[in-house]
Symmetry: C2
Subunit: 321 residues, 2 copies
């Protein structure tokens, strides 16, 4: 039941780290609601609970990890600012956390980022640093900022402070819903998943935790089979938040603690997003609908059980369907 | 501070009625979340809180009043079932309340009701009784059901049990948000508004309560000016839940307790619904966006204050924008 013995030995983050993160970020994040739909439950034959991180500040769980990372900096580190490269929700989340701590944030974003993501950063008073749309350009630009400013790089997921922050989603969920059998979490880089695995499995070793991943971005499933971090082979899933490879810190947590990973089709993701809108009257971005898609596409694994799914974000591109 | 003296004398519902309703329906309704958006607050210069009745069962506050009415029936009354005529959320709410109490519900709906509203009733296992799309046909059909079955008519708003049930929204809001200056409530028939007025003004006489109404359905504003219940003159506002006239029970409560009524344009309603979706990641039906539309269109009345708006429902017609 702690992070230093047995199956938790050697993992990069402990339950205590997550509890400290929860205290550190408490007044700067939303304790997001858990919703359910009687009619959806009746239709599926499952007791389904939705942890609504789409209602988190900036519309995604990323605010938790970004706040924990920024608030963990020493005064000297903070004075030099923070930097990250991201085309997604981590960019806005880090900008917001820096605004709260009143420090500089250098946000490197590809020139072709969605206008809505660029606007989300600008609204916080931070001007994105534009780079070419390649991993090389992103990383090189971020390194230049570090060299010039001494800012601390906050990786979107492969960072113990970020993982601990995302894990607070699991602490909250278990305070809000009792007697869960199973939790389904989306996996991109694995920050949310590894943080929640440590929180959930530490507090309840019997609880099953499944990852959900698009078939078109099945690098996590392949990595778990091969035992090494595999790269994405294509980048065209509508679940744009899940197109990233696993991290050096997140992958070993998944190898140790994850019970299963379920792949979902693009059509199932779209159906799940529409179901969330119709039955819960909330907006999920495609990545945030992937766990419900897994439940609907692999229904036989869930029937008759008490299941929580994380709606990880709600920043749907208004130009998309 | 009670319903029998001073400005509350003679009103059809008391704070105690609303408290009893809250206890009666407690396990059958959602204690809906209150959300806020830091960025929206910063943009408007207002501390805005959203009471999310779009996340209520069947997607609207109507579940509160319907449950209170059905659960208040004597065993003999219940045995004969309930009846209503409605083209909107009250139909599904009453059907659901009847299913919970395991009694018959006769739901009279115009033939030309939105397919989504008909489907919402059918999903609950209740077959709507279709009538012609006129007030006369609706009322005559409901009377025939009463004559044939002895069922109790549950009016969508002009019913003390319904008003008391809707008023529980106000009790909850004051438990969830402290130090409010002002609450904005949409007005159609006035059930939600009159119930909330009694709850809010009984508990906090200093709290201002404003109604919000579409300019295209300004019958409540005209009624308050003339002192008699005026009829709607047109039925084409996109806020389809607010096309109804005030009731004999709800109007006197408004005359006594309401501080102001604000009219809003159709474009403001659409902008408010889009703002709710973008900033809060939740879905409001047009009627549910009318209070925010009032805040945005009459911003000068709200700047610098702590304001709650009720998102009354989230059943947006999927065929509409």
């Amino acid at each position: 039941m702690n992070g230093t013995s047995g199956r938790f030995a050697g993992l990069p983050v402990t339950l205590d780290d997550i509890r400290r993160a929860a205290a550190r970020i408490d007044s700067s994040i939303v304790h997001t609601p858990v919703l359910f739909s009687e009619l959806l439950n009746a239709a599926l034959g499952i007791d389904l609970w939705f942890k609504c991180e789409n209602m988190q500040h900036i519309g995604a769980f990323k605010s938790r990890g970004a706040c924990n990372a920024v608030f963990s900096l020493t005064a000297a580190e903070a004075a030099a600012g923070v930097v990250t490269h991201s085309s997604g929700n981590h960019a806005a989340a880090l900008a917001r956390a820096a605004v709260i701590r009143k420090i500089r944030a250098h946000i490197v974003m590809p020139r072709n980022s969605a206008e809505v993501k660029l606007a989300a950063v600008r609204r916080l008073g931070v001007t994105p640093i534009l780079c070419e749309p390649s991993a090389e350009s992103r990383e090189a630009t971020a390194r230049e900022v570090v060299a010039a400013t001494g800012a601390t790089l906050i990786h979107p997921y492969d960072d113990v402070r970020v993982i601990a922050g995302q894990g607070t989603t699991g602490l909250e969920l278990l305070e809000q819903v009792t007697d869960l059998d199973l939790v389904v979490v989306p996996v991109g880089g694995g920050g949310l998943l590894s943080g929640m695995l440590i929180a959930l499995k530490s507090l309840n070793p019997e609880l099953l935790v499944y990852a959900a991943e698009p078939t078109l971005a099945d690098d996590a499933a392949r990595s778990l089979r091969s035992g090494v971090i595999e790269q994405p082979l294509r980048y065209d899933t509508i679940a744009d938040g899940l197109r990233t490879p696993l991290g050096q810190l997140t992958f070993p947590v998944m190898q140790r603690l994850l019970d299963d990973i379920l792949l979902v089709d693009e059509s199932a993701i779209q159906e799940a997003a529409a179901t969330i809108q119709a039955e819960l009257r909330v907006v999920a971005e495609p990545s945030g609908a992937v766990p419900l898609a897994a439940v609907m596409q692999h229904k036989e694994k869930f029937v008759g059980r008490r299941v929580a799914v994380v709606i990880s974000g709600g920043n749907r591109d208004p130009r998309a369907a």
